[in-house]
Subunit: 691 residues, 2 copies
Amino acid sequence: MAASRTGLARLFSPASVAVVGASTSQDKAGYQAVLALRDFPGEVFPINPKGGEVAGLKAWPSLKALGRSVDLVLFAIPAALCVDAVREAIASGCGAGLILGGGFAEAGPSGAKLQAELEQSCRGHDFRLLGPNTAGFVNTELPLTASFLPSASRIPAGEVGVVAQSAGISLTLSFLLARLGFGVSCGVGLGNAVDVDAPAVIEFLAEHPRTKVIAVYLEGVNHGRRLYETLRRVTPKKPVVAMTVGKRDIGEFAQSHTGNLLGSYAVRVNALRQAGAVVVDSTEELAAAAAVLSLYRLSPKEQAGVGIITAQAGAGLVMLDWLRSRGVSVPALTAPTLARIRACLPPMTYLSNPVDTGRPGESFGDVFAALTDDPGIDAVIAYALSEPAALRPAELLPDLARRTSKPILFGTAGTREETEPTRDALHQARLYVAGSPDELARAAVTLVTDARHRARLARTENVVEPRASALTLPSAPDEDAAKALLESISVPTPRRIACVSHAAAHTALAALAKPVVVKILSAEISHKTEVGGVQLNIADDAGLAAALARLDAIPLDGPRRYLVEETAPAGLELIVGAVRDASFGPTVMVGFGGTLAEAVRDTATRLAPLALEDALEMLEELGAAALFRGWRGGPALDRTAVAQVIVDVGGLLYRYPAIEQFEINPLRVYPHGTLALDALMVLTPSPTALD
Amino acid sequence: MAASRTGLARLFSPASVAVVGASTSQDKAGYQAVLALRDFPGEVFPINPKGGEVAGLKAWPSLKALGRSVDLVLFAIPAALCVDAVREAIASGCGAGLILGGGFAEAGPSGAKLQAELEQSCRGHDFRLLGPNTAGFVNTELPLTASFLPSASRIPAGEVGVVAQSAGISLTLSFLLARLGFGVSCGVGLGNAVDVDAPAVIEFLAEHPRTKVIAVYLEGVNHGRRLYETLRRVTPKKPVVAMTVGKRDIGEFAQSHTGNLLGSYAVRVNALRQAGAVVVDSTEELAAAAAVLSLYRLSPKEQAGVGIITAQAGAGLVMLDWLRSRGVSVPALTAPTLARIRACLPPMTYLSNPVDTGRPGESFGDVFAALTDDPGIDAVIAYALSEPAALRPAELLPDLARRTSKPILFGTAGTREETEPTRDALHQARLYVAGSPDELARAAVTLVTDARHRARLARTENVVEPRASALTLPSAPDEDAAKALLESISVPTPRRIACVSHAAAHTALAALAKPVVVKILSAEISHKTEVGGVQLNIADDAGLAAALARLDAIPLDGPRRYLVEETAPAGLELIVGAVRDASFGPTVMVGFGGTLAEAVRDTATRLAPLALEDALEMLEELGAAALFRGWRGGPALDRTAVAQVIVDVGGLLYRYPAIEQFEINPLRVYPHGTLALDALMVLTPSPTALD
């Protein structure tokens, strides 16, 4: 469903809040939730059948008795009572609800039934529901703490929007941001997300003026395709950093958490990246990446260049190694830049990139300025141990930052007494300060990755459509039909003739270049080789007769046909396949053929449709990508042709919902072009005409 | 050279310190170095030709004039003056020196010459020299700050010993430790390490009572084998954590730093791990790993089990995923443990491992106790957002910790006002506190990794020696000679006959099972296949004659011989090779055969000699390790036989210095046993008799 702007504004920026289940017992969520509203500038209405007072506020016996259509209703009542309470809120004209408690899909079948009723109750109404099973959200701008967790009201205000499936992670992130000296604009825990889900909140935060960057933590994703499309729209305008779990099998515990299945980690991570999010691996990295992107964003660029300044060579090595091993460019400096630096520093230091200043002196700022002026440098990172007698970053850097539009990131270590005032002063000037060389390098990687994603998204705004327009569904999706489909979208296959009889096969042999391959042709058999259904190296009629006899020995229910095909030249073998992921929809993969490739799981995955550039990027991601570039003196292979096949196979599933799965295995790759040697197509259970 | 205990004690724990080059200019290193000694309880002697006073202390015109054999001399003078100054210190009976300044090997040829003279000056004397080109060291126990960096004197005292090639990293680490609430016992920057190097300092710290854990940061390693052997001795007694750089090519900058070449990153990292060090990837991880190991060490165990408690399910998922994806066991709990937990918690929570307590209540401690009592659990990690009304960790955990010998690690996030007093109180009780779920999980990984290394070292204390004792060097190290060597150490090869003539080859054909392979046999040719020197599938005399004719067409200087060999059954192909690394000595590797395996660089590396268990571990490290375990219904392959070959090939290089390189390519692997199909041996330039 599309996000209703009005509805979400009433949820996250309400003028009035009611708490159903407000309690006078201080250890109850219904008391804590009212208490947490004490700084909220709008109206607050505790609802308690007994009336009286809760936390110093007059309590109303029911929403109906209140007689007001409040914007947001917090439900701090048992799961079994929630459906009726939500109906009452809708009837009273309330705009949004938040169910804090659990006991729904995460708690088993009876809870799942309750959750379904809840979903049903909201449907068709202009009422947005957050939760259930969440600790709630904060909007620090109002301020509003819609949560029973006391610590939620202590989240510092700032510019990072947080969307987390788990409110516990949302709060953890908030406090990690606080430790870095940053704060949160809106922090939202989604819980079971029966209505308001990650895409909806991301869409809201994208338009939220106070929010400069969106940090997302996801477990399972139910509507992956919508998340992907939302992120693709949002990331060009506002940076998104994301983290997800599920590298290993943690599904049982995950399901007990929010009732959602995890799905494939690789598909999820790749979809997030493809949509332009900077994907990280830990909550600390998520907080740090959001922090730096709340201050800076590079222009879209494939390979942004980073300049490194260091007062300690060891720290410079650590940063250089970190950047290089993550594919970040640390380019050589121009001659004028080097001349400027040489004029600043004693001859013994390392005058290149990194610039090793040795013990920093008065020229540190000049070196900095020289680097930021270099045309090949898009961001400068500088590390120096705290040494107030030699370097005063809080005095030096704000001036330098004003002189340039390029990000300036600083890193230092020292006693807290020295480094905290420095950090606070630099934060005031909206400058980033890291506490170690690695953290500093990571911040640069974040900026460069975001710029690379943006460049790719800009390039691939109009993804390539498959080369054919309307196709006719084959009656039986056998190899010949699958190959015909490939031909119709201009994917080359070996010359072949489908035959219904031995005689036809002999005629075909005469017409084709020899030797040929003879295969059994039937949609009944998906693994031909395993049943002896592929006969290689047939050069004459005698050989063909023997081959046909062997094929006739394979049991078959339907009609018996043969495929006679020219033998393809030897070449590197790939697998290109597309499936329909339950959450993310059409997904295409590529990997090398053969047992070893399968065993090392050397594959790359993207959502379809995709652009040629995306497909080329997939090839570069493969561990054995070097094989394309003229291995051991051999010729370079045609990567563009492979990329086009990936685009086309992805396009097939994207455009034709009747195709459930399509696989080319193997796809042979040559210095010029490719050949699809075998193709497998699976149609959806009740096939209709394609397109 | 072996570490002289007396010498190093005079260096790191001196009773008296002189500063040569003491200066009255406050911005000079020679002033800062004297100033940094103000808290040193021993005697301090500034040395300045002009006499007078430096930083309030009487200055002496020269060491000679001082007339005392001080323990430690700090040299804060230009590089060109250092050699003479060191000679004077030795002549005066001083015990050790520290050269702070640069201008040596890192600065080019003339500096390298100075450094060589420096090394020469120390040789043969009972005088230990630290540096040059380092910011020095601290010994917080005395306290002693031997450095010109003012921040060095602000390093908090503690139990972590730090050895870093770069003093900048040593200081960064020290402040990262301080941020975690930990401190340093001795922190040493090695610089160019002409005398005192990493192994020497590690050996010293291993015996240093105050030091509970050793943190090592390395760039290039000159005497890798000695480092390895030192670490192997030390890690069973005291934990070592290590970090090194050089994943990508950063050699030029690294060499400019300390004048050392980097060498292979993979060899270095694997050697550190093999010697029992916990290897990490960033300075933050290095500090955190050292911190947790300064508090706890698990007993040697292959698969230590971690119990997880969480008050927030999302945090539990993050921790579980982190541990599982790093191969750490999070075992199921026993029935009695589950019953105890069930009695503590409401039914809706997730009662397994992780235990999700929901909002923590009074039972949190009981759940904790139940987990620590579980026989399958070796360490417990618990995460809860700061919620002082519900949980007071500072009151709860110290009691729990006293009840068990198992490590208890706690993680929390909240406002600094709440979490810092908690952390400080828990540190007082020697408990570890992490600031995020990932950091908490990482701490557990550190303990489990250390325990695993210890178990392996205990198991492999007596590494397997090669199965033969004395060998005779072949006159020409051709394939036949290499295979004879393999046979003599019981590595199986196909049946073969070396032949000097066509007639002999035909006789050989008659004697062997057909078909055979016929190969050119000459030490002149190392890549037979590429010159057509391998003729396959020869079954009769006619075929042999044709094959021999083709071999005779290959130009050759020396005598022409042939190898007639039985064809080996098909099977999975591996490469097993051993080389003599310039720094680490005999090094053995294994990888899968074929182009794809080579392109993905799927290999594992260890130093020789090694135990069978080490070699089996190498096979598990391969990305395609699944191929050994019965791929796609095929039979499981003989991993033990492969491991034995790895041990034996490593042993060849370890025992016989005349062998420079040995490679089996391919080694075929079967369900029972292996066969070395081809073998290549390279001898050192001036070969002498083996053994």
